[in-house]
Structure formats: C-alpha cells, structure tokens
Amino acid sequence: MEGELPARMGEWVVGTEAGTVLSCIGLGSCIGLALLDRRAKVAGLAHVMLPESPGGITPQPGKFADLAVPALVAELQRQGAMKHRLEAVLVGGAQMFALGRGSGQDIGARNEVAVRAQLDRLRIPVRAAATGGGKGRSMRVTVPDGEVVFREAAGRPITLLDPSADTLRMAA
C-alpha cells in the first residue's frame, strides 16, 4: 500500500507526514502500541515482542516493552510531540497457543501488563485497546489525525479511535 510504513517485530516507526499510514501486520502475542500527539500531528507505532529486556547491551530496544515505550516516547518528543499530550492505543497480546513453560506461558498477557506499566509510569493515558483473546490482529494508524483501525483474522476493520467523531470504543 502506498504511504504505508510497517513496523516489523521489534521495530517502531514514526510518522509526521499527512497520509502516512503506520501498520503492525499479523500481531499475535506481540503488542502494537500507537502513541499519538494529535495536536502536534505526530504518531508512533511500536511492535513490541516481549515484556522485559534481559539486561546488558540490547541491540534492538524495540523488542522489549520496558525499553521500547520510553524510547518511542523520546523519539516522538524529538519529532515535536509533547509528552503530556500523548495518548496510547493498544492492540494485540493474544494467546493463540498453549505453549512454553513457566514464564513462557501467555506471553501476550505479560506483554500487555508490561506495556501498560510503562505507560502508567510515564502518565500516558490508554484511550482504547483491543487486546487478549486468541485471535491475531492487524492495526493501522493514519497520520496526522491519529485514526486507529484494527482487524482480526478474517474479520472486518474496526475503528478504535475515530478522531472525526472523537469517540472511543473499547473492544473486548
């Protein structure tokens, strides 16, 4: 799609140009975290894979909730966003399989908890979320309005954040 900027696993993207669409395609247990400053017309989208970094030198901070959230906030601030105006939308964190041992279980839920903890710490409100469950999702964020749309596998697109109506929907 023209003007679409995909965030692959462990990456984040930032858009300031009108018409740019930021996307996370095929989120399973990963979390797609959209951060928006609708006044400054800046949006960022992180494709977070895991709750916590292992410590030490991490070549890809975008993979881990504890590093990705503050790093994306800092990047948005460099692009003109104000921290107190940032709003968050979360999509993903599904559990598709019962797999893994001990802490490996339900990575999706742990990802969501870790991302929300970082947002709380930074005092960024979560305006809408479509998380949990057992289905994969894709999400798209349109710059500069900050419209956030997601879709489940084989489902129709659902608007989570509609800037024109400024209505918010909480999905299950």
């Binding site: 395609i25 095929g26 989120l27 399973g28 490996g104 279980q105 990575i107 999706g108 994969g136 894709s138």
Partner: protein, 195 residues
Amino acid sequence: MSTYTETQLDALRELANIGSGQAAAALSTMLGHPVDISVPTAAALPLAEAVAVAGNPDEARHGILVPIVGEFEAAVVLLVPEPDAVQLCSVYNLDPSGEDGASFLGEIGNILGTSYINVLAEMSGLDMEPAPPQVVHDMLGAILASVLLASGEDTDTALLLDSALTVEGKPCSLSFLLIPVGGGVHELLGRIGVV
C-alpha cells in the same frame, strides 16, 4: 545470539530431508495419495525476517502446532493456505473450518510431526516426543510470531527448517517448519557428530 556454520546448516538440511521424507511417506499412507516433498531449506534468520520469508504476514493460514518435548525441544508448525486445506480435507469429505476438519488437520500435524521427529530421535539418540496438536486459523504473521516468541529463549534468531509437501491428485501444498527451542539444536548437532 545463536549462529550456525554452513556445515551445521547443511547437516540440519540433511536431517530435514530425511525427516520430511518419512513424514511424507506417512501422510501418503494416511491419505491414499502420493506425496512429494521439496528439497528442504535450513536458515537461521532474525525473527522479523523469519516471519517475512514465510509469506505476507496478513494472509490467512490454517496453522497446526505440534510441540516437541523431551531432551530435544522444538515446535513443528504446518502452514496450510485456505484452498489447500479445502483440498486436503476433501479427501475425507470434511470442511476445514468445521470441528471435524480442524481435528483432521490436527491429525495430519500429529502424523507428520511424529514421523519427522522419530527420524531425528533415531539419528541423535535424544529422547523426544510430540505433545497434542493445536489447530488455529489465523494470520500467518500472528501464528509464526506467537510460536517463535513462546518457544524460544533466544529472541534474536530463529532456525527454520522448511519443506513444502505436495499431495498428488489433490492439488495442494503445505509448508512444514521445524523450529527448535533454544540450545537443543547444538546438542542435536553434537550427537550426530557435527560441531
């Protein structure tokens, strides 16, 4: 981050070749149709690329996961596109989106996974056995990312052994992935004399 030499990847490719050959033979017996296999590929890739090589992450797939537990841990994943699943299930007059169809797809995963790892177990002397299959119908990217993240302590690199199976007479094909968990691969390679 795990890295693999060309020699190790060659050895893994050969194991995949023998394993998927056995798996194809077992599937052929179950379906009553000849089953061909492609030459397997073995690649160690960054996670994001591992998902990308499997196809467009948005595309729908029937995904069958067979966890392998024991001394060697891994995930066997079958990825079947919708039309191919319809063809496959038509052998027994089943609908892949129904309960019986899903159960049939799970059984295919079970047979393929079991025959594949039996070969690995025989050659390496490592104890391994399949856990019950789990069947989903979802986005390719979501299926693979979930398996890769839940199964590996190594979150940098995914080792994928990929063979395509083609069922004759029922024009359909599916991809067959063996995704080893963590350090087990080096133990496996050591047992067959490739260090």
